[in-house]
């Protein structure tokens, strides 16, 4: 049953991809963003402060309540190397709000190959909205807890496809640690004006061949349609419907079957393009994504509780305020119905970016002919 569902999903995905090759009028995918690149002969110093607070009040079997509060600072130099190559170098700092905590410092070091419509990043990734993955694939708190990643990313944004695909290496294999990485991406193919075909995939792996430890493979895929009509009355309202499939393998004692599936629907109503009212509906059967919002999973937070058939609904309100000079404030209130349980959550974020242009004079050749 599970295998045939995945097979049907893959086949449909292939058909839809081929059929949309000649699709017209692209709708830019909100989640996919090409990072701004420095012009020829320039050095751009990019900085951003982020102040975040996220509180979820879950008292149910699938997800436990959690509060994330702190400040982040990102600072790196974007240097022009050639017409198609840039280098990023700097650091990322995270300070969780508490009296006795260690400040987390991570390097930013990336090789960026870019054209007008695509970007290949090797090194430090700066994912935008979790690479565009929906909540059952990657939980939204990863935007706060994992704002930078390390690996490879390909972002394509042209008239045919909007794509954000990546490989994120989380842990290197050592004598005591297993290797951990996740991979996948999201894509949008404009079919006709206002209608897009969407495909998503997320894989998570724990393993490593040189020890006899745990090997875990989790894969979640999704295919959907998005309706973004841009009608005068509805503003930037939209409707997304996804069919999802999951495969969980190699977990000793896993209480459910290997394959699972689900139906995800999200409606966004934003008549004035400022206030955003959204609703999510989910029907799942044995669905499991290791990095997804566990409210969508069939496996409970304790790793033992299991419920094959799942329902989840969410209603929310969001406002993204552009204050001044690029300073923005984002707040979100949500109400959740997890089967028979009800919970509320909210998020606050303030972003303060500032870029500084630095004049770089290339050193002329000396008498020894060196550069």
């Amino acid at each position: 049953m599970g295998i045939s569902f995945i097979a049907r999903l893959t086949f449909f995905c292939l058909l839809a991809t081929v059929g949309s090759v000649w699709a017209q009028d692209p709708e830019w995918m909100e989640h996919t963003a090409l990072a701004p690149i420095t012009g020829p002969g320039e050095l751009n110093w990019k900085n951003q402060f982020t102040f975040y607070g996220d509180n979820t009040e879950f008292y149910e079997p699938f997800r436990v309540r959690e509060t994330i509060l702190g400040q982040q600072f990102e600072s790196y130099l974007d240097g022009f190397v050639s017409d198609h190559v840039d280098l990023w170098g700097g650091l990322f700092v995270n300070h969780p709000s508490a009296q006795e905590v260690e400040t987390d410092v991570q390097p930013i070091l990336s090789f960026v190959y870019h054209t007008d419509v695509s970007q290949f990043i090797f090194g430090t990734l700066q994912p935008v909205y979790r690479h565009g993955l929906i909540e059952p694939m990657e939980v939204t708190t990863l935007e706060l807890t994992r704002p930078i990643e390390y690996g490879m990313e390909w972002v394509q944004k042209d008239h045919f496809i909007n794509l954000d695909s990546f490989l994120n290496w989380q842990q290197v294999l050592t004598d005591v640690d297993r290797e951990i990485f996740d991979y996948g991406g999201s894509s949008e193919l404009p079919l006709i004006p206002g209608i897009l075909l969407e495909g998503q995939c997320h894989g998570y792996h724990i393993g490593g061949a040189n020890t006899d430890g745990l090997v875990l493979n989790n894969l979640a895929t999704g295919l959907g349609l998005a309706f973004k009509p841009h009608l005068p009355v509805l503003g930037s309202s939209s409707l997304e419907i996804f069919g999802l499939g999951s495969k969980e393998s190699n977990i000793p004692g896993y209480p459910g079957p290997t394959y699972g599936e689900g139906l995800y629907t999200k409606i966004i109503v934003s008549p004035d393009d400022r206030w955003q009212f959204f609703g999510i509906s989910w029907f799942g059967k044995n669905y499991m994504s290791e990095e997804g919002d566990s409210n969508y999973n069939s496996l409970g937070a304790d790793g033992v509780y299991y419920e094959s058939n799942r329902t989840y609904e969410e209603l929310g309100l969001r406002r993204f305020v552009q204050i001044e000079n690029g300073v923005t404030f984002d707040f979100e209130l949500r109400s959740h119905w997890i089967d028979a349980y009800w919970a509320n959550s909210f998020r606050l974020e303030a972003f303060v970016p500032f870029d500084v242009g630095i004049s770089v004079n290339k050193k002329e050749n000396g008498s020894n002919g060196g550069t």
């Binding site: 436990v64 509060l69 400040q71 600072s75 709000s97 508490a98 009296q99 400040t103 300073v327 500084v356």
Partner: protein, 356 residues
């Protein structure tokens, strides 16, 4: 510890260097606040023990206006307790503020002057010295008809073996006339967390009252304030001793300043099963020893305070007081010197033909 300090300085160096070149900032100030403190609490009763605090603190940060309504503050705070072997406490300062002429919304490092305006039974005065830096969110309003300082202060993250700890609440004042103000206060304290379950504490304390002040000729500026307080200790370790979850108290404070030389003040307190986790323990019914509990409580305090204001925010605060904790008599004193200075940082916007 070394790792923590080195990481910390990377943060500060990067943040400060960034501000020195902040292209968006119209105005950057290098703000420094130094505090020299000495505090001796000479208590030997069952509710609070003797404590001496002695040291120096510095808060140094770059304050940059990022527009007409937003501001960012980045730097560090350092506390050195006087002593040869005591360690140096370093904390980052990183806050974002949205402000109007009467409102301030703060995200990150909070403003903690005068413990947000709390009475002693809600927050003990030594927190001004032991916790001058708090992290969370804050709303400060300074309207003519309403003033508030409301906050959420996150103290500890929920990790294996440790509960999450935070306190929250605020104070609000409604001036009814030129010399009479009504005052509402609320303070909550929580320990818990579901990620790693280690037990739950929930404590609440409310106060409602008013303050009247008047210039009384040779007695100088005088004031009298009275409050009714309520506490709820709904979950926590002390409930094994008593089943009194709710308590209350009456707080009276009067002061005169003869000849404007110094403030002479007195506090009267009568409490019944009152308990505030972060309040001055001399007002609580729960003793230091978890097994000691006294339902009916009295506390009196009489003190003399001299507050000298210098240029800007510079001040010298000297205070001595004696306390009657039920039948115990104790003496305490405090000396606080605060010096503040700001330096304008010249920021030149770089001429850039590409618009960066």
């Amino acid at each position: 510890m070394k790792k923590k300090i080195s990481l910390f300085f990377i943060l500060i160096a990067a943040g400060c260097w960034g501000f020195m070149n902040l292209a968006l900032a119209d105005n950057v100030t290098f703000q420094n606040n130094l505090t020299f403190y000495g505090d001796e609490e000479g208590f030997n009763g069952p509710f609070r023990s003797e404590e001496t605090l002695f040291g120096q603190q510095i808060k140094s940060s770059l304050v940059a206006l990022t527009g007409e309504r937003t501001r960012i503050d980045a730097g560090f705070f350092m506390d050195h307790t006087s002593g040869w072997d005591d360690y140096l406490d370093l904390k980052p300062i990183l806050s974002f503020a949205y402000f109007t002429p009467t409102t301030r919304l703060i995200f990150g490092t909070l403003e903690t002057q005068d413990r947000h305006g709390f009475l002693e039974p809600l927050e003990v005065t030594t927190l001004e010295i032991t916790r001058p830096v708090e992290y969370g969110v804050q709303w400060k309003e300074m309207d003519g008809w309403f003033q508030t300082d409301s906050f959420l202060n996150w103290q500890q993250l929920n990790t294996p073996g440790y509960p999450e700890i935070f306190d929250y609440g605020g104070t609000g004042q409604f001036p009814l006339s030129g010399n009479f103000t009504t005052d509402f206060q609320f303070h909550g304290y929580h320990q818990g967390g579901k990620l790693f379950y280690v037990g739950v504490v929930n404590n609440y304390a409310f106060a409602l009252g008013g303050r009247f002040h008047e210039d009384m000729g040779f007695l100088g500026p005088a004031s009298i304030s009275t409050y009714g307080l309520l506490s709820g200790n709904l979950q926590g370790p002390f409930l094994q001793v008593t089943d009194a979850q709710w308590g209350w108290g009456i707080y009276l404070r009067g002061s005169v300043s003869p000849g404007n030389i110094a403030e002479l003040y007195g506090i009267l307190w009568k409490g019944w099963n009152f308990f505030s986790w972060e309040g001055d323990a001399n007002y609580n019914s729960q003793g230091l020893d978890p097994g000691f509990y006294q339902s009916d409580r009295t506390y009196e305090e009489m003190g003399l305070r001299k507050f000298i204001v210098g240029q800007g925010e510079d001040s010298l605060d000297a205070q001595v007081w004696c306390s009657w904790i039920d039948n115990y008599l104790d003496f305490s004193g405090r000396l606080l010197a605060r010096i503040s200075f700001g330096l304008d940082v010249p920021v030149k916007e770089k001429g850039n033909p590409n618009g960066y």
